[in-house]
């Protein structure tokens, strides 16, 4: 019925990388906002530093919902205890590509690789598994990556 929330809203897992590149936290909050506006429930999985950056930036949880440890998320999905409709993996280094490949292998979620950083093109070349790649050279300013995400509109797919 129009105006009522769906019984089982779609879910999206945001897999954060190392937070050493500034744009990650900003783009994660932006993507969370866009997903929520599209009726998709975002769940964040990252290491302690990446998660804490988000939690401190959004103390009243206007944007953030569930936040979990990255290793726990991998274990839950690999052990078939939980899965998501879509998965966005933040990538700026080799480890990020490894996590994206892992999500592609263990999860049924539609996979998106969000690639950024000074040498984003080197990481893009390593992505040889099925996924939608959204990439931009973005380190301090999130705007190039925001533009790439807005053009891809993954929350519509």
């Amino acid at each position: 019925m129009a105006g009522e929330p769906a019984a089982n809203p779609a879910t999206a897992l945001l897999v954060l990388g190392c937070p050493q590149v500034p744009v990650q936290t900003s783009i994660a909050l932006y993507l969370i906002n866009r997903l929520k506006k599209a009726g998709i429930t975002p769940i964040v999985a990252g290491n302690k530093a990446a998660n804490t950056l988000l939690v401190v930036a959004d103390p009243d949880r206007h944007y953030l919902g569930e936040v979990m440890d990255l290793d726990r998320a991998v274990a839950l999905i690999a052990d078939k205890k939980r899965d998501f409709d879509s998965c966005y993996v933040f990538i700026h280094n080799d480890a990020g590509v490894s996590y994206a490949a892992t999500m592609g292998a263990i999860s049924k979620a539609k996979l998106y690789a969000i690639v950024y950083g000074e040498h984003f093109d080197e990481q893009v070349k390593k992505i040889e598994f099925p996924c939608t790649t959204i990439a931009a050279k973005a380190v301090h300013s999130p705007l190039p990556l925001k533009k790439a995400i807005d053009e891809a509109k993954p929350w519509v797919a």
Binding site: C18, V74, I77, A95, V97, S98, T102, A105, I106, K126
Partner: protein
């Protein structure tokens, strides 16, 4: 993957790319198996691009351990029981 901290491990490679780790295992260990991402070694789900190589050297298991900020480490851990369990997968 907190359990890795409790293992008595030796670091064979540190801050490597995933490919360097896989190439190292295949170049240095005659005995290895290929597994898929998420496969459990000890209580750790391995991370990486498939296939992921796990090497053997006697009772030692050599496997990749990836951390978001530090890349991939290649760890060497002695455990006869786990080595036997993994070797049995080759058959």
């Amino acid at each position: 993957m907190g359990c890795v901290e409790s293992l008595n491990y030796e670091i064979v490679l540190r801050d490597a790319t995933f490919k360097e780790s896989r190439d190292y295992i295949k170049a240095h260990f005659t005995e290895f198996i290929d597994v898929q991402p998420g496969f459990k070694v000890f209580d750790t789900h391995v991370i990486g691009l498939p296939p992921i190589a796990i090497g053997f050297e006697g009772n030692f298991i050599i496997f990749p351990f990836t951390k978001p900020c530090h890349g991939t480490f290649l760890l060497r851990v002695e455990d006869a029981k786990e080595a036997a369990r993994l070797r049995a997968l080759k058959k």
